[in-house]
């Protein structure tokens, strides 16, 4: 059946809560309201208020309490109302959760999922548009995923819940209702740590994830038609651990790599990927690894500013053509 991205998340939560009674939900307005974006809609009715918990506005507590329950074998799925507010739970995630197993000498685990609605392009301005993933992809002990499709939204969330580690799950707000797919019913998972080629091609590799997969594919299709260029589009899906093999394989195959993300350029994960490629596929490169990303500023509110700041199909197109011509 055709489903939206947000519905896929909702279905995954329903199914996982049914499957495992240790799964529970915690966050602001997740119960009666069903979440600011309706991701947790219907869960209260189905599972009761002991397993679907509205919290006060206390992000550090939400994550910290999730950790405490997780270390005792529960499988909490906690929600940041917006990914932007993850800054308020930062210490609990990067220090408490990420080091937990390590500092217990491998004899404890923290199977916690932090859901974080991220991304721009919805007139959210500085504090409702952030893409904070690169703050977490540098933290060993965490896993970080960022689904770009309806299928992955469901499959990766299930994997995250079943994973034995703290997983930050970035769901892109702009995709919530803007993309629809035929979503297979029933149980399936998408493995964490495995990227996916969305379009094969031999001329140039485009590596992306999350909110920029759509515009990237659009651009790839346009250059295919207009310029006869075969762009290979790799969707990372998991940002930590990175699927290095897939990244290096496509780079070696085409010799030209463009990295696209909605996060800002400097310090975005694109730098790390470019560095990996430049180091490990150096001999295979026929041109510089280039990046298309948000400008190095905050996501501003006013449409002309927001449009300038965020990457779009046109900027990707231009970059593909520039690199192809290199």
């Amino acid at each position: 059946m055709e489903q939206t991205y947000i519905k896929a998340i909702n279905i995954a939560l329903h199914e996982e809560m049914r499957r495992d009674e240790n799964v529970f939900i915690m966050g602001e307005d997740v119960a009666d309201l069903g979440g600011a974006f309706k991701a947790t809609e219907g869960l209260l009715a189905a599972f009761g208020e002991e397993r679907v918990i509205d919290t006060p506005i206390s992000e550090a507590l939400i994550v910290g309490a999730g950790i405490g329950a997780a270390v005792l074998g529960m499988r909490p799925v906690v929600e940041m109302q917006f990914a932007d507010f993850i800054s308020c739970a930062f210490d609990q995630i990067v220090n408490m959760a990420a080091t937990l197993r390590y500092r217990h000498g491998g004899k404890a685990a923290c199977p916690l999922v932090v859901r974080a609605p991220s991304g721009a392009g919805v007139h959210g301005a500085l504090f409702h548009s952030q893409n904070p993933e690169a703050w977490f992809t540098r933290v060993p002990g965490l896993k970080v995923v960022a689904p770009a499709t309806v299928y992955d939204a469901k499959g990766l969330l299930k994997s995250a819940i079943r994973d034995g580690n703290p997983v930050v799950y970035f769901e892109h707000k702009r995709l919530y209702r803007s993309i629809k797919e035929d979503l297979p019913e029933g149980d399936f998972t998408v493995p964490i740590g495995v990227a996916e080629i969305r379009k094969e091609g031999g001329d140039l590799s485009l590596i992306t994830y999350g909110g920029t997969l759509g515009p990237s594919l659009d651009a790839a299709r346009i250059v295919e038609k207009e310029d006869g260029l075969a762009v290979e589009v790799l969707d990372l899906r998991t940002l930590l651990p990175l699927d290095r093999e897939a990244v290096l394989a496509t780079a070696r195959k085409t010799g030209k790599v463009l990295i696209v993300h909605e996060d800002r350029l400097t310090g975005g994960i694109g730098g790390e990927i470019a560095a990996l490629i430049s180091e490990h596929a150096f001999e295979d490169l026929d041109g510089p690894v280039r990046r298309v990303a948000a400008l190095d500023t905050h996501v501003a509110f006013s449409p002309p500013l927001e449009q300038t700041i965020l990457p779009d199909t046109n900027r990707i197109l231009e970059a593909i053509r520039g690199l192809a011509a290199y």
């Binding site: 509205d54 308020c88 007139h123 504090f127 500023t297 006013s302 500013l305 449009q307």
Partner: protein, 350 residues
């Protein structure tokens, strides 16, 4: 309507009658502004989130009226009225909401996070409660520099659950800083009712745990808010340390204009609407012998005009130039002195 009613939030407390009419004007202006904003949002003329403060006008009016020039105020996301009370021109506010170049943040953010440091109104981030440490720092500056000013930090009962609020109040208590914490307790944080937020009834009870006094008042009763504020602000200004005023109130509209607020009881809303601060104050004015019908008409005309001018101004204002996206990030070392650093210039004007 007396001539002395101006756009500025600073009140001339004497003669009392004029002052009270001014207060009425402000509440009405804020309500009119809020309502217009809700309408503009429905008309898609405002794109960002709109968080109406309708129903809570007595709080911003009653808290801000006794403040002085140079007092530092950090408003809550619902406190459009604070800007008006502190003298920010409604037209610039409207421009801010529409993302125009002439708005407070020059289009960088919508209403919520634009401050106006010329009027000592601090633009908070979205992270609820995070502005309380900042207000405490402003109060620390006032104390260090022997400024006759105070800092005022507004927060919702929802925000009171944030760690930053705790850290801020504790430190303010230790250093007896001139800061007033104002809790607008409207019984909901988005959809979450009070009893899911805290196991106590009054946020004001927390103050004691930080070594200062907490006060509770009806936030829908302008005279009550004003009375406690005047008393408390004098003490805070006199160096007696921080204070907390909790104003009990109710949010009329949804959490934001997107929210139908179906989680709330209709009865509850009706009950609270019957406590509307505006008719309540009109009743008082009437009792005092004013011809309230005439005054209301006059004032409605004036506020409609002010709001309409604001809309016109905002609509005619240009959007920012795309290249400004990369401006305003950094101060150059020389230019870094804020307008506020010569904050003492207007002190003691009253």
């Amino acid at each position: 309507m007396p001539e002395t009613i101006g756009a500025r939030g600073e009140a001339e407390p004497s003669p009392r009658i004029e002052y009270e009419l001014q207060l009425y004007y402000w509440m009405k202006l804020i309500r009119a502004f809020e309502e217009r904003v809700s309408r503009l949002h429905r008309q898609n003329k405002i794109l960002g989130g709109v968080y109406s403060g309708a129903g809570q006008e007595a709080i911003v009016t009653g808290i801000c009226a006794p403040l002085k020039d140079g007092d530092f105020v950090a408003p809550l996301h619902r406190d459009m009225g604070v800007f008006i009370m502190r003298g920010v021109e409604p037209s610039r506010l409207m421009a801010q909401l529409m993302g125009k170049e002439t708005g407070l943040s020059r289009g960088k953010d919508s209403f919520l996070h634009g401050g106006d440091m010329e009027h000592f109104v601090f633009g908070s981030t979205s992270m609820l409660g995070s502005s309380l440490p900042v207000a405490v720092g402003a109060a620390l500056k006032f104390k260090m520099k022997r400024d006759p000013n105070i800092a005022v930090a507004f927060f919702g009962e929802g925000a009171s659950s944030r760690g930053d609020v705790h850290e801020a109040m504790n430190f303010a208590g230790v250093h007896k800083l001139p800061v007033l914490f104002v809790c607008e307790n409207n019984r909901y944080a988005y959809s979450t009712p009070l009893e899911k937020q805290m196991a106590i009834e009054d946020v004001a009870d927390r103050a004691e745990a930080y070594g200062f006094k907490g006060h509770v008042c009806s936030g829908n009763d302008l005279l009550a808010v004003l009375e406690v504020t005047e008393r408390v602000v004098d003490k805070v200004r006199a160096g007696e340390g921080p204070a907390l005023i909790e104003c009990k109130t109710y949010r009329y509209r949804g959490h934001s204009e997107h929210d139908a607020a179906l989680y709330r009881d209709k009865e509850e809303l009706i009950e609270w609407e019957s406590r509307d601060p505006i008719p309540r104050f009109e009743f008082y004015l009437e009792k005092k012998g004013h011809d309230i019908k005439r005054i209301r008409e006059q004032i409605d005309e004036k506020t409609n005009q002010v709001v309409q001018q604001a809309v016109d101004y905002a609509e005619q204002s240009p959007l920012p130039d795309p290249k400004e996206a990369l401006e305003d990030l950094y101060a150059s070392p020389a230019a870094s002195v804020t307008p506020s650093s010569n904050s003492n210039s207007n002190h003691g004007a009253r």
